[in-house]
Symmetry: C2
Subunit: 328 residues, 2 copies
């Protein structure tokens, strides 16, 4: 109307790419114990739906996680990845695979093969603000091995502003392909997301890097905040089928695909997968917006207290949770 | 960061008022058949929570609706309202009552008493774009009787732009206190909401009227779009407890109260009511985001087809709904 900028979304911006995190972020709710059937169904749906990347799990160091206690998508061995990729024989297009590598919890020397010997296309380094030098070491190693790379600064909403600017200056000089705005606690509002994306782009843009965005849905803002980030120039956007992810979950991939209007994306296979493979998981895995997660988002806190509460006998007594979380 | 406008929300804008529509909009899902216990619980929670208005139902014409088939909150007789208000004896503060009056379905001559003889404080006229003269007649009658007034132009997203501007010109000259941006189909994105609020304010502002906003959650954007409207200057904002409302439901009142930071609002009584009175209604009444409602929002359609589908035997077969709604 006054500006009528919204009309441009009848078209699309081809640079935008979707990273579906269903298995990786959802794995934080079931110790990465997905069956091959579900992982392959997500791979097939992402491929048929034109989704650019599927983040399939973590590259967790064997010495730090116990097999059995943690499912195989905590490790993403090449054998496990190969089985998924081979299950897609006959697919017209293939979604690229991405893995997340936690700083200090990844044995990149032993576990990351050279890109040409791996099923992995992209390595995303997850770091807290106090680990930036180690994150740069890890992302440099991944880039040297030929991978596409991202650095995701987690828990952004609790990082002091001057440290964040220092981190962005350092990251702009390292080989990472993208820097991610990550609202781990689902506490950010649209204006804040716009301001963070502007800040990140002011460092990443001149260095030829993309900015990405990963949101949580504690305040029902994950999709909206992803759109706001896109409008400001973020080109890598995270989603997950049915919003499956830690706590309140993520921005639903199916909403993103609907909004973006890129003819590469197809909604039907995504809805098929949600109906047949993701929603049935709710029998055992509980994710998505609720009052305890809302309160964590509102108070800018890690969802851990709400996750514990939701697992307890008292999970239906939201007033009790309110009283606990607001009592110093 | 570049602008840092978000920081102002650490404070609050005292002009903003919340209209809780739990019973009125939720009544579209159960034919307005709430028990007195639930309606009174919402009244007490809104009062204790500092919510400014509670919209308790429709002023439906007796000749157009059959009692029994439609519950009493389709009519909002003064006797029924009195019982609710008297149940609040002893409350420190009282939420004002609002009713919705549908154009052509309200017998204002017989059913609207003079304001001083009624429990109602505000009358909100719901109109489609082709009923504007009748809406002005109705809102003028309500204003003449002493009520606070609003006009809600429904299904905005399907109104031709030139008709909408014509409507706003006429409404700016009538006695209504506010004009509402209503995203009936939950199809609008943030930029579109901002542009509509700017357009509405360009007419309403010079005439000394407020702009309001009422959103539906088909694309999980109801809360986000309400914030965007607030940022652009909307001062009357609709919510409902647990988002209860037609189809995908509304912006949750508890999220709004958390965001607005006005010390008048208190979250605990709202959460208490959600836990003890609203969530238990889900045993019989199904509202909130799902894939069929998402598709209606994405395609800018009335949720009626999704509501029928969700009531049918096939309600779990979302792919079938996708095929139907995308087949001409």
């Amino acid at each position: 109307m006054t500006e009528n900028r919204a009309r441009r979304w009848v078209g699309y911006r081809p640079e935008i790419r979707i990273v579906d995190c269903t298995i990786r972020d959802g794995g934080l709710m079931n110790d990465h114990k997905f069956t091959d059937e579900v992982v392959q169904a997500v791979y097939h749906a992402c491929s048929a739906g034109g989704i650019d990347y599927m983040e399939i799990g973590y590259k967790g160091a064997r010495g730090m996680y116990t097999e059995g206690e943690h499912g195989k998508w905590r490790f993403c061995s090449e054998d496990d990845l190969k089985r998924v990729v081979e299950s897609g024989d006959g697919l017209v297009s293939r979604t690229k695979l991405s893995v997340m590598a936690d700083v200090d919890r990844t044995d990149h020397k032993n576990d990351l093969l050279p890109r040409e010997d791996s099923e992995i296309s992209m390595v995303r380094v997850a770091t807290y603000i106090h680990q930036i030098p180690a994150a740069i070491e890890l992302v440099t190693a991944a880039a040297d091995k030929g991978y596409e790379t991202c650095v995701n600064i987690m828990a952004l909403s609790t990082a002091p502003r001057n440290e964040l600017e220092g981190a962005l200056e350092l990251l702009a000089k390292c080989p990472t392909g993208a820097i991610y705005v990550v609202d781990s606690f689902g506490s950010l509002y649209g204006e804040q997301v716009r301001e963070y994306v502007d800040l990140y782009l002011s460092h990443a843009g001149p260095a030829g890097k993309e900015v990405g965005v990963h949101n949580h849905n504690n305040q029902q803002l994950a999709f909206a905040n992803t759109i706001e980030a896109i409008v400001r120039g973020a080109n890598l956007v995270d989603g997950s089928l049915a919003g499956m992810g830690r706590g309140a979950g993520n921005c639903p991939t199916e909403l993103l695909a609907g909004f973006l209007h890129n003819p590469r994306y197809h909604l039907r296979p995504l809805i098929h997968c949600v109906q047949h493979h993701i929603e049935p998981l709710r029998q055992d895995v509980r994710w998505g917006f609720d009052i305890p997660y809302m309160l964590c988002g509102l108070l800018n806190q890690h969802p851990r207290s709400a996750m514990e509460f939701n697992e307890s006998d008292r999970h239906a007594d939201w007033v009790a949770f309110y009283d606990e979380i607001t009592t110093v």
